[in-house]
């Protein structure tokens, strides 16, 4: 057992830190700009930040050099994730393209598709959204109904997607559509790439429970997609989507952001007045803070075990569900702990006098709720663990 990074890796980390010291502060998070600010300006800032980071060699670490990647080691990827989180840089604007579509194209795309799309995912010149979920197909994604009919050299797509994150700002969408309505439900689905400016697409932004704009409805009305924007085989989209949904990440980047959250909350609890003392004088609250620390350490070392398995060439497989389930629950427990630390003050809205930390914890609380829904619900993660790790019988017969 050995948890050390090699001297070479530590060098890599140092160079990255120096780079970050010189370059942070320039990045802006467009989603944090809220209703008021200059959204278009912030968006451009976010694209610029990703591009700068890519040009420095810190985006697309696992991707082939030929398409703008780095062919870096897994350990270097982890180091980059850790350091970006440590410096609290904003999330990369094209994360969906980077984490889901990119790896899919590397494996399943044609050479033309890779050359055409990968560099612009990396540079954030083209932002991507994921059009999988539909009103009638969420956890049971294979029940999707959006149709794609073949007409000469084109697919003609009609249907509706929903919960599509970032749709209003996306330039492109990768989507699943039914190309063979008569085949069994998993065998008639294709994986398509669609320009969001194509006639027939309508985006209707939805407000989420936290009050922000995060996801949208996307309507397709006879939208024409060139045939060469099909990824993989015709009707072969389900297998491709499944592999990408399982695209493993060790979850180590989550750890640092959670750690920072706990640190900040600890500081709040150590100064928030409660009677003649502070909130953290309460012994039961102290134990909960210690418990939150245990949970975060657990996620860290779980991440190291996943990483170590990947380095050894083993796929963590359904084991990634363990990390996702634990991380979403932990995030929610931490947010709940924050509100209980505030006590009755937790009811105050953002700009009220006496509000604690300018209302950050209520926002964190609502944000955390989405983590056990998006990307496969907690229940679906439990199904996966039960069936694929423990080997229990399938719970759903379909």
């Amino acid at each position: 057992m050995d948890l050390h990074f090699s001297a070479e890796d530590e060098q890599y980390r140092l160079r990255l830190r120096e780079w970050l010291e010189a370059h942070t502060g320039r990045a802006k998070n467009p989603l944090a700009a809220g209703g008021g600010g200059d959204i278009m300006g912030a968006l451009q800032g976010a694209r610029d930040w990703q591009r700068t980071l890519w040009e420095a060699g810190y985006v697309g670490l696992a991707w082939p050099k030929e398409y703008g990647g780095q062919e870096a080691t897994l350990t270097q990827q982890v180091i980059v994730n850790q350091e970006l989180a440590r410096y609290s840089t904003p999330p990369l604007i094209n994360t969906i393209g980077l984490t889901i579509l990119g790896p899919t194209l590397v494996v399943n795309g044609t050479d033309d598709q890779r050359r055409r799309f990968l560099p612009k995912i990396l540079s954030a010149e083209e932002l991507w959204c994921q059009g999988f979920s539909e009103p009638e197909a969420g956890s049971d994604l294979a029940s999707l109904r959006t149709r794609a009919e073949i007409d000469g050299d084109e697919f003609v797509v009609t249907g509706q997607k929903v919960w599509t994150s970032l749709a209003p700002i996306a330039d492109w969408c990768f989507l699943l559509a039914r190309t063979d309505p008569n085949a069994p439900k998993r065998e008639g689905i294709s994986y398509l790439l669609c320009n969001m400016r194509t006639p027939g697409i309508k985006v209707n932004a939805l407000r989420n429970a936290a009050g922000g704009i995060h996801f949208s409805e996307v309507f397709f009305d006879e939208v024409r997609i060139p045939r060469d924007q099909l990824v993989g085989e015709l009707h072969g989209g389900w297998q491709i989507a499944r592999t990408t949904l399982e695209h493993e990440r060790s979850g180590l980047s989550n750890v640092l952001s959670l750690e920072q959250t706990l640190k900040r909350l600890w500081a709040t609890a150590s100064s928030l007045q409660q009677g003649t003392g502070v909130a953290l004088d309460d012994p039961s609250l102290r134990r909960e803070f210690a418990r939150a620390w245990v949970d975060i350490e657990a996620l860290r070392y779980l991440g190291f075990r996943t990483l170590s398995a990947q380095i050894a060439g083993r796929t963590p497989g359904a084991g990634a569900s363990v990390g996702k389930l634990h991380a979403s629950q932990l995030r929610q427990r931490l947010a709940d702990l924050a509100l209980r630390t505030e006590g009755p003050l937790a009811q105050l809205a953002k700009r009220s006098p006496h509000v604690v930390d300018r209302g950050r914890w209520v926002a964190a609380y609502f944000d955390a709720l989405g983590h056990s829904i998006g990307g496969g619900t907690a229940e679906i993660q439990r199904n996966t663990i039960a069936e694929r790790v423990l080997g229990l019988p399938r719970s759903v017969v379909d």
């Binding site: 102290r286 210690a290 418990r291 657990a298 050894a312 363990v322 229940e379 790790v389 423990l390 080997g391």
Partner: protein, 386 residues
């Protein structure tokens, strides 16, 4: 980076699992519950000693197998999985303390312990409701060329049949372990039974007179330039940590065993025309246990590494894994009872044996609250220091 067991550790794990499966039956545990305590027959103790497991983490030159903390944890986990008595972990821990205390303690006693002919166990806890080295009030006072130990100890695991007690006592410079022969005048041992049938006891030390060098390591102030061996206070604390870590490993084994039997049962038992494991009220509860188990294992490996490397965060990680193991073991074993239905509530089935072991282990080497308080205190200290 390599954060899994090494090939040798995997081989040891498999060997230990086979050995316990062949040589130790859970029926012994059940039978012995009616005629407690559950003890390891001499013949088996001799075998595990010959396999090198009692001295698994003792240096080779001192008569041990030279394994690291992670290797010791492998043995503790497998013992837990098999419900093999806790004596193995208790004596293993005391052996490591003797080994680390310096040359004075390497010799007949430690060699005998490793060889299975002698036994030593540690005695930390005391009456009064506060736990761990900080709560020790038993004293070790120098009186000429004698060391006089007075106080009382409770919850001393596997005390019967031991010939040496490593008693945690307060000295002018902190806490230290003092080697007390079980038959020394002034020592009174009252055996008791643990809820899993295990054997514990109360030890009263009434001005026990010992030679001046009965203390493990040096209790001289740091600036005294004394080179009599390890720092006694640090040794006592790291011994408590090792015991805690092995206790957590034992609980992890128990949790995994309970999860495995319950998963197998959920695959077999049919109700409403389907295996009960297809009902999510069942499968999701087991999935949650799996998460608890994986988390505990991750923290266990982290704590082992930290202890082996002598890192400053070792104590905190040890507390973390004990907190996680406590929860995993209780959830796994309670789920085992519930999900077996009526048969899960019988004396015949093994699941209550796992539950007993879990409940006993949870309360050993500090409960969850104790370790959470320890984590909080260490965090606060670390903050004050920076």
């Amino acid at each position: 980076m390599d954060f899994e067991l090494s090939d040798e550790q995997v081989a040891l794990r498999d060997a230990a699992r086979d050995y316990f499966a062949n040589r130790w039956s859970r029926d012994h545990v059940r039978d012995a519950l009616d005629r407690p305590p559950v003890v390891v027959p001499d013949e088996l103790w001799q075998e595990v000693a010959e396999l090198g497991w009692v001295g698994i983490a003792v240096a080779v030159e001192a008569g041990g197998s030279g394994g690291d903390v992670a290797t010791a944890a492998v043995i503790a986990e497998e013992a837990g999985r098999a419900l093999f008595p806790s004596a193995l972990a208790s004596v293993l821990t005391a052996a490591v303390a003797l080994d680390r205390a310096g040359d004075r303690w390497r010799g007949a006693l430690l060699e005998g312990v490793c060889a299975g002919t002698r036994r030593a166990v540690c005695a930390f806890e005391e009456p009064g409701g506060a736990w761990g080295p900080d709560a020790v009030r038993t004293t070790a006072v120098r009186d000429g060329d004698r060391l006089v130990v007075s106080g009382s100890k409770i919850l001393v695991a596997d005390v019967e049949g031991t010939d040496t007690l490593l008693v945690a006592a307060r000295t002018p410079t902190g806490v230290a372990l003092v080697a007390v022969p079980a038959d020394a005048p002034g020592v009174t041992i009252t055996p008791m039974i643990r809820i899993d049938g295990g054997q514990i006891g109360e030890v009263v030390l009434d001005a026990v007179q010992l030679p001046a060098d009965a203390l493990l390591g040096s209790d001289a102030p740091a600036d005294a330039g004394d080179d009599a061996g390890a720092d006694a206070d640090a040794l006592a604390r790291s011994t408590y940590d090792l015991g805690t870590l092995l206790g957590a490993a034992d609980l992890l084994g128990v949790a995994e065993a309970a999860l495995a039997v319950t998963t197998a049962f959920a695959n077999d038992r049919v109700q409403f025309g389907r295996p009960i494991g297809s009902f999510q009220a069942v499968s999701h509860r087991l999935a949650d246990v799996l998460v608890d188990v994986e988390i505990t294992r991750s923290l266990l490996y982290a704590a082992c590494l930290a202890m082996d490397e002598g890192r400053p965060d070792a104590a905190e990680l040890v507390s973390a894994v004990k907190v996680a193991a406590n929860e995993a073991a209780v959830r796994a074993t309670e789920a085992a009872v519930q999900l077996h239905g009526g048969i899960g509530f019988t004396w015949e089935l093994d699941v209550h044996l796992y539950l007993r072991r879990a409940r006993a282990g949870v309360a050993t080497f500090g409960d969850g609250a104790h370790h959470l308080d320890r984590i909080f205190a260490q965090h606060t200290q670390a903050r004050a220091a920076t």
